[in-house]
């Protein structure tokens, strides 16, 4: 709180940062429908923090992050002044009179049975019901769309289920199917839906049927601010031998060297640093990309066996240690593990390093000929940008978001069709030949997106008065 100047009249205390007398602050809540702990939690926190720093029409914004008790145990960074609220979501029947005052028939043309219920934060939750607006991170509610007690926006990270259908369970009666339908309904009824790439923006209309004028292209606010890769700086040769592949990456840096080596010995592959000395490329991935691992393995097999691939392939990424264990209970992990093991033993050029702490990852990456990025689809990862920043070119699967990100950051990458095994193998060979001719600079221009206009735009839409006013009981 700042001091009031003596010339001011006796106003009630303000929460201003600038010393000006302010109107009452806006209150907003970012709601997480699911108990995310990784990237989505980071997005949620960033949204809260960024909005809390924003001023809208002279008003400050008080933000709150709403999650459940699982989220509460995870690690996230919220600015001072941004609170975390533990919220339970409960169903509300469509015919419930408490809800009916808020259901604008122009927006909710539902009969009482379709959908027969909505989902609402527990009504005892003061923070949510004294807010001026909500932002729902996706609309993945299990039992029904979000109840419109407050005007809300939806953040759409991507529509991966559209492009990687394996993500949905096979049984149509599984709740996952209905959850997806609830997302569409939640989006169709939102004041505005926002996304960070043009392809996802286009999908909000083409896939979820939201009118174009209610979809906003947002700058990449969840850029890798604060997460930039830094090389270890100690020794230029990558310290692979001393690096364990562990899942507790956050703690890996502080682990004892001997302890790391001990852990390594549990793994299948004889871990020798020698292969590091020959030219290599890095395949960065994680275990959630389903089928494309298998295609990737086929591409690698083709690259080595039919195209005489000369480079080593180092496999790194979060959770990839799971592939070291071919006795996993999950069939798809076993399949990938077997595939990698087979490749490794046949070619002696494929090595699974697993999950590395970030500085070590930077070291490994900066010594690579190129980065191989083989996902079928996502909303554009920063993997390629990280490599570009380190001066390492990338060979990436071709999908709209990655093109967008490369354009935005001025990165020149090579692309291939992730569905086509033969093309993928050829592309690897071509990259190998290209790099032999001499190192190339992928280019990289950092972006500092100005979020003020974007947030103003967003809040304009959410807070715009509508023709329908909830009938005050």
């Amino acid at each position: 709180m700042t001091k009031r100047s003596s010339s001011e009249a006796a106003d009630p205390p303000s929460t201003s940062r600038d010393g000006e007398a302010l109107a009452t602050p806006l209150r907003g809540v970012v709601i997480m429908p699911m108990a995310w702990r990784g990237g989505m939690l980071k997005v949620a926190s960033q949204l809260c923090n960024l909005l809390a720093r924003h001023t809208y029409q002279g008003r400050s914004i008080q933000m709150c992050l709403a999650g459940n008790q699982h989220t509460a145990r995870a690690h996230f960074d919220l600015d001072a002044g941004v609170s975390f609220v533990n919220v339970a979501l409960e169903p509300v029947f469509s015919a419930d009179p408490r809800l009916s005052r808020y259901l604008d028939p122009a927006v909710y043309p539902f009969t009482p049975t379709e959908p027969n219920r909505f989902v609402s934060p527990n009504s005892a939750n003061v923070a949510l019901f004294s807010a001026d607006f909500w932002i729902s991170l996706t609309g993945f509610y299990n039992e029904g769309p979000l109840a419109p007690f407050k005007p809300y926006a939806v953040f759409a990270p991507d529509f991966i289920q559209r492009y990687v259908p394996e993500i949905l369970p096979d049984d149509i009666n599984n709740y996952g199917w209905y959850r997806e339908a609830c997302q569409i309904m939640t989006m169709q009824a939102a004041k505005v839906v926002f996304a960070t790439t043009p392809k996802t923006v286009s999908d909000v209309t083409a896939y979820a049927g939201v009118p174009r004028d209610r979809v906003l292209l947002f700058p990449l606010f969840n850029s890798h601010e604060g997460g930039r890769l830094k090389k270890s700086g100690v020794d230029q040769t990558p310290k692979i031998a001393s690096a364990p592949a562990t899942s507790e990456a956050a703690d890996a840096d502080s682990m004892d060297h001997q302890w790391k080596l001990d852990r390594l010995r549990k793994y299948r592959y004889a871990f020798s640093p020698d292969f590091i000395k020959s030219p290599y490329f890095v395949w960065v991935t994680n275990t959630t990309e389903h089928k494309n691992h298998l295609r990737a393995i086929e591409m690698l097999a083709s690259y080595y066996e039919r195209h005489d691939g000369a480079l080593n392939c180092l496999i790194v990424g979060p959770s990839t240690d799971k592939w070291a264990d071919s006795d996993s209970e999950f069939a798809y992990i076993r399949d990938v593990a077997d595939g990698i093991a087979g490749l490794a033993s046949r070619t002696n050029k494929v090595h699974l390093l697993g999950e590395l702490p970030s500085s070590l990852y930077a070291d490994v990456l900066s010594g690579a000929q190129f980065l191989w990025h083989n996902v079928l689809y996502d909303n554009g990862t920063f993997t390629v940008l990280e490599a570009a920043e380190l001066g390492v070119p990338s060979l990436s699967s071709d999908y709209p978001q990655i093109r967008y990100i490369c354009d935005l950051y001025g990165v020149r990458a090579d692309f291939f069709d992730a569905h086509d095994v033969a093309e993928g193998a050829r592309a690897l060979k071509q990259m190998q030949e290209r790099q032999k001719a001499g190192p190339s600079d992928p280019g990289f221009q950092d972006l500092k997106p100005d979020l003020r206009e974007a947030f103003d735009s967003l809040l304009d839409r959410i807070l715009a008065p509508s023709a329908f006013q909830p009938v005050k009981a």
Binding site: Y163, I172, N173, Y178, E180, M185, T205
Partner: protein, 577 residues
């Protein structure tokens, strides 16, 4: 000419939107400005569902249309179960139109019968149906085809391959009456008027004044208020809320305007869309007017569920014409995946009249009516989802180019109108009457007007023969609506005393009207007897009062009272002028 339509579709199917109803509607619109008369005979449960359909062509038409259903308890033969037969027999028409070659009604209702023979799918795709279905359908259709006086097809292919080769019909028995194009907006005008009222809009006067936003509003409004139609279930809810709020005007979608039947090649269209969305990251969607039940075991439903395409191919079904027209308007491109149709597909003029280009499958129907250049531009190889995907992509990218070319084709096809088709049907009925008249040995027959009559003042002469035997045997003759004036009936017997026969035979002329059956008394009936060519002849002349000209007439005759002689052969000639 007065034509009866034997509408053998149950009420439930009419609600479903049977494709043939669309065809009949177009044919009857062709009749609208003629002086003919059409009477539709249907079962009682079809009346309510047919109202909207009936209005489409009957409102404001010069041609007289009526819809006749049996009243409860109405029958005229003991044990009669199909009440429609009773109704139909009382109607004096110049001929009957059926839309399926079947014997049932034809055997029981007199008159020349013309059947529409749209196609026989089993001749083209035998393996798409079960063996049992095959057996069930082939022989009745074969019999029907053999007995029909005339058949109408919409393409040479169907006439030749299905009619002549498969069923052994004679080439002159089948007449090809190809379709004409139509303006779908005009066709759906009534619906658009009602929609404008319901949505409190200015009247939508032309297809151009129907904007994308307006069309989308009409679609959404319809879905919200729809009482029939099938919506998929996903989990706890139907998909209806999603469809009711969807921004159709902002989406590039592919409209698959086809029923999902095994031979319609629906799956290829689904695969093309999948390839575009997932392989090429294209921002399109699929919409179809076919009901889709995701829980069924049918191949397309299974594919949609296995490949998780349930949000990519959405079904909006049971649509009235004006809502259907709006979907065409909103679509980026229409796809007609079925490689076979009985005639040139209706989807072509439907789509183009709403300003949307169409991609069709190559097959006999389109090959008969399009030039090779047009085939190459508009049609995809039916088995290739890739070919279709490529064409959809090109059409979405440059819609106007394909649209302009197809409009030129439409102009060429527009030289033929549904009025032309109505005239052709009248012609077919004339031929059918002549055929009918040349058949012998039928008990119950209808007389048909033959313009080439030799009676003074024009009129008609017809002859038939039959057997008359046993006590109270009845012979019934329905005189056509166009028969007027004096009727002269000559009954020629093999042997017997003419005056004795004249005494024993009784003939009466009854007139059926709204009031019921009125019989004429002796004032109007003159009986004479004598010998003609050595054979006994009984002649009856009937004077029809002016007021009854044009009313339904029935002539009955038989032996009265005592058992009469059994006659093996009687011939008679009925002349009316």
């Amino acid at each position: 000419m007065r034509i009866g339509l034997w509408l053998d579709i149950p009420g439930a199917a009419i609600r479903e939107g049977e494709g043939l109803l669309r065809l009949l509607s177009l044919i009857f619109k062709g009749f609208a400005q003629t002086d003919h008369e059409i009477i539709i005979v249907a079962s009682a449960d079809a009346r309510r569902p047919s109202e909207a359909w009936f209005k489409e062509f009957s409102e404001g038409a010069r041609c007289k249309f009526s819809f006749v259903t049996p009243r409860p308890g109405e029958y005229d033969a003991p044990g009669e179960r199909d009440l429609r037969l009773a109704v139909a027999r009382k109607l004096a028409v110049d001929g009957w139109l059926a839309f399926r070659a079947e014997r049932h009604a034809m055997d029981q209702v007199p008159g020349p019968w013309v059947s529409i023979f749209a196609d026989f799918i089993l001749a083209e795709f035998p393996m798409h149906f079960s063996e049992a279905t095959y057996r069930q359908l082939v022989s009745p259709t074969r019999e029907g085809v053999a007995r029909m006086d005339r058949l109408v097809c919409f393409s040479e292919h169907v006439k030749q391959v299905h009619g002549v080769e498969f069923f052994g019909a004679r080439p002159d028995q089948i007449r090809v009456v190809p379709h004409a194009p139509f303006d779908y907006f005009e066709f759906a005008r009534l619906g658009f008027e009602q929609a404008s009222q319901a949505l409190s809009l200015d009247e939508i006067a032309t297809a151009d004044s129907l904007t994308r936003t307006l069309a989308a509003d009409i679609v959404r409004h319809h879905i919200r208020n729809q009482t029939d139609g099938y919506f998929c279930r996903i989990g706890a809810s139907h998909i209806r809320p999603i469809l009711a709020s969807m921004a159709y005007e902002d989406i590039d979608f592919v409209l698959i305007s086809s029923r999902n039947r095994p031979h319609k090649n629906f799956l290829t269209a689904v695969q093309a869309i999948e390839h575009l969305v997932r392989g090429r990251y294209s921002a399109i969607k699929g919409l179809t007017t076919s009901p889709l039940d995701l829980t069924s075991d049918e191949p397309v439903s299974r594919y949609l569920v296995d490949r998780k395409l349930h949000q990519e191919v959405l079904s909006i079904n049971h649509l009235p014409a004006h809502v259907h027209a709006c979907l065409y308007k909103l679509a980026a491109v229409t796809v007609h995946p079925s490689p076979f149709e009985g005639g040139f597909p209706f989807t072509f003029p439907e789509s183009l009249s709403m300003g949307t280009p169409i991609i069709m499958a190559r097959g006999p129907a389109v090959e008969e009516f399009l030039t090779p250049g047009e085939l190459a531009e508009y049609c995809f190889e039916p088995s290739s989802a890739r070919d279709l995907a490529r064409r959809i992509d090109a059409a979405v990218a440059d819609r106007e180019d394909l649209l302009a070319k197809q409009m030129m084709t439409l102009d060429r096809l527009k030289k033929r109108t549904w009025r032309d088709i109505a005239d052709e049907y009248v012609d077919v009925f004339r031929e059918a009457s002549q055929v009918y008249w040349s058949k012998g040995d039928l008990w119950v027959r209808t007389l048909a007007a033959d313009d080439a009559g030799s009676a003074p003042g024009g009129g008609f002469v017809g002859a038939d023969s039959g057997r008359l035997s046993g006590p109270n045997a009845m012979l019934t003759r329905y005189l056509p609506a166009s028969a007027v004036g004096v009727f002269h009936i000559d009954l020629d017997f093999e042997d017997g005393d003419p005056s004795d026969l004249a005494r024993k035979i009784e003939l009466s002329l009854g007139v059926w009207s709204e009031a019921g059956l009125t019989f004429y008394d002796h004032k109007h009936v003159r009986v004479s007897s004598g010998l003609a060519d050595g054979r006994p002849r009984v002649s009856i002349a009937l004077d029809l009062p002016e007021k009854d000209l044009g009313a339904v007439k029935e002539l009955r005759g038989g032996w009265i009272g005592e058992a009469g002689p059994v006659l093996e052969q009687v011939s008679w000639r009925l002349a009316a002028w």
